[in-house]
Symmetry: C2
Subunit: 370 residues, 2 copies
């Protein structure tokens, strides 16, 4: 009776069934739509929200992985990590430059993981000391009152962020740091602090005027004698001197260059470049490109030469590893390409020689057959 | 009875209901998962598959939209479009460079839509004539047998692709084309063909050796006298001359430079740049950056000067519009920033003057109040 009562009414199971099937169909449709839309998107990376106990706040982190990171045809490799300050600005172009320079057999650098660190309180994090300054346009305004947090930020990067990245991704241990303007000031601070040490620094238009040039005093003390473990440092300066006035920003970078020129510390390789055609805003992209080329100078292999000198491949990587104080080896992708190239171009002995190196370095993968 | 019979069995509506609810819950969960995953991804663009009746095949097209494209706080604007050949290689870095150079009030160029065209048969599409060549490493191999499709590819771009982009997105009509190597050969062909005309061309390391330098003959005929409507052309060359041999690729670009130097055609602005530190592979990224800076030279506004000369803002855009033969005006974002800047820095008269221009250009939006 109870059942009968509902026949034909809203409680009828068949009506329910139809309603539910409509919902199921709709949900299926929506799922497929979402799936289809997701497939159409061009995805270059992923974001994480990381709680920092040191900074006592959530930080947004962007991560771009190398194109071969999930290539199932090769042995899972580990990669250097490039940490980029001002992630919301700089992550996109650093990722594009790294992908560009690490592509193909003429790659100028290894594939890398790019990590962008977005800002919350930029002045607080990037400045090594607590200082302030009157606004140039309005002397009643005091700028930078919440400053001097670089030590904390450095601890966050060195202890929390790098641990997270090293646990979440396959990292090789080779680390780079890149910053512009206040980010360049922080990168200089991080370099001079010594710990945690990175292997390379990209320092673009650093705000070295900060707090009576406190970082220049530090540089004069630390640069000549500390052991930087063969760190490679690229410093860039824009052509934006304000005419007719003393430009503290411009002059302080020139003074830093002079300090770098005056020291002779074999544990450190510094390159300074002046950009005649760039201003403070346009500098960081071309300087990122040239800076990475400087840091990885010597990485590129002239693989056609290997046909006449089989050892030149490993010699080239040995020389670069010595220069950077870190072990680099040919990627599996590159070895695969070289073997195929020699096979296809009538050089079976060269192909066999490279294949031998391939099998030594990547014993787990089936290498290209001869 | 018929109903009773099914109670407790597989046909029981309550069992059905439970089963369906499980499916519903699962689907809801999956939808949410997909949504959550999508939110974590960093998306820089979208892909389309476009069927070309001219080429008789599907083409993959990548599209990156300006960051303010969907900004609901401003009047929907239309944007120039940069068409990038070798989309699978070049789309990512062109997008990053365009986003970088068009950012903020010191923007060196307008925000743009970037369209990447992926390859299917690169040699066929990029080459203006049917020709072939023996492989340098193996004289029994004949290269480039399926060539000479540039006219078709040009028709695809000019008729099918631009129509699709113009119908799917808000485009201003200002169009640029960028290509490297064979893509540079095609861009040269497209420029010399005249129709459909683009406003600017980025031609990097073009393969002008193609078919006995057929494009150089064309250039000698067309460049001196055709009307290019003030097109801006940037030609870049890498430092990769093969030593000790006649390098046809290298020499043909030098010959093109000499032709460009020898003509005096006021409807065309050509800039050639040689890259001492770049090879054929590394050239296109820095040349893309410098090429865009050349094409948009004069676009950047020194907005602080406006305080002393209110007309300088519109004068600056007028001069650039005249130079490029196309109407450019300040973006709403920029005007908003300038009004706020003058308000905040004790310059109410300058703020009011810029606000007036704002209201004339963007009457539909509520501008910043004074």
């Amino acid at each position: 009776m109870g059942l009968k009562k509902t026949v034909g009414s809203d409680q009828d199971p068949t009506v329910w069934f139809q309603k539910i099937m409509k919902i199921v169909t709709l949900l299926l449709f929506l799922s497929l739509q979402l799936f289809a839309r997701a497939q159409e998107k061009i995805v270059t990376g992923e974001q994480h929200c990381l709680y920092s106990s040191v900074l006592k706040e959530e930080r947004r982190i962007r991560v771009a992985l190398p194109r071969n990171y999930s290539n199932s045809k090769i042995t899972p490799a580990s990669y250097p990590v490039l940490y980029v300050l001002d992630g919301e600005m700089a992550f996109e172009y650093y990722t594009a430059i790294v992908n560009f320079l690490s592509k193909g057999v003429y790659a100028s650098m290894p594939e890398m993981i790019v990590v962008g660190i977005d800002n919350t309180d930029r002045t607080r994090d990037m400045t090594p000391t607590r200082a302030s300054k009157r606004a140039p346009d309005d002397s009643t305004k005091i700028l930078f009152q919440n400053s001097g947090g670089a030590e904390n930020f450095s601890t966050f990067i060195g202890q929390e962020l790098t641990r997270f990245i090293d646990s979440a991704y396959r990292t090789s241990g080779f680390k780079l740091l890149a910053g512009h303007s206040f980010g360049g000031l922080f990168s200089t601070y991080h370099l001079l602090r010594g710990q945690p040490a990175f292997h390379a620094y990209l320092i673009h238009a650093p705000s070295l005027w900060w707090d009576h040039q406190v970082m220049l005093s530090q540089a004069r003390q630390t640069l000549p004698k500390a052991n930087f473990g063969r760190a490679r440092v690229y410093v860039s300066q824009a052509n934006n001197k304000e005419k007719g006035v003393f430009d503290a920003h411009f002059e302080s970078i020139k003074m830093f260059k002079n300090i770098c020129d005056s020291i002779n510390n074999p544990s450190l390789a510094i390159r300074y470049e002046f950009y005649e055609n760039e201003d403070h805003g346009t500098l960081p992209l071309p300087a990122a490109y040239n800076g990475l080329k400087f840091i990885f100078d010597g990485y590129q292999v002239d693989f056609k030469k290997i046909a006449n000198n089989y050892a030149s491949l490993s010699e080239s990587y040995s020389a670069f590893s010595k220069k950077t104080n870190f072990h680099f080896q040919p990627s599996e992708y590159m070895l695969h390409f070289i073997v195929e190239y020699f096979k296809d171009n009538g050089k079976p002995a060269a192909a066999a020689a490279v294949l031998k190196q391939y099998q030594q370095l990547y014993p787990k993968t089936a290498p290209p057959t001869l």
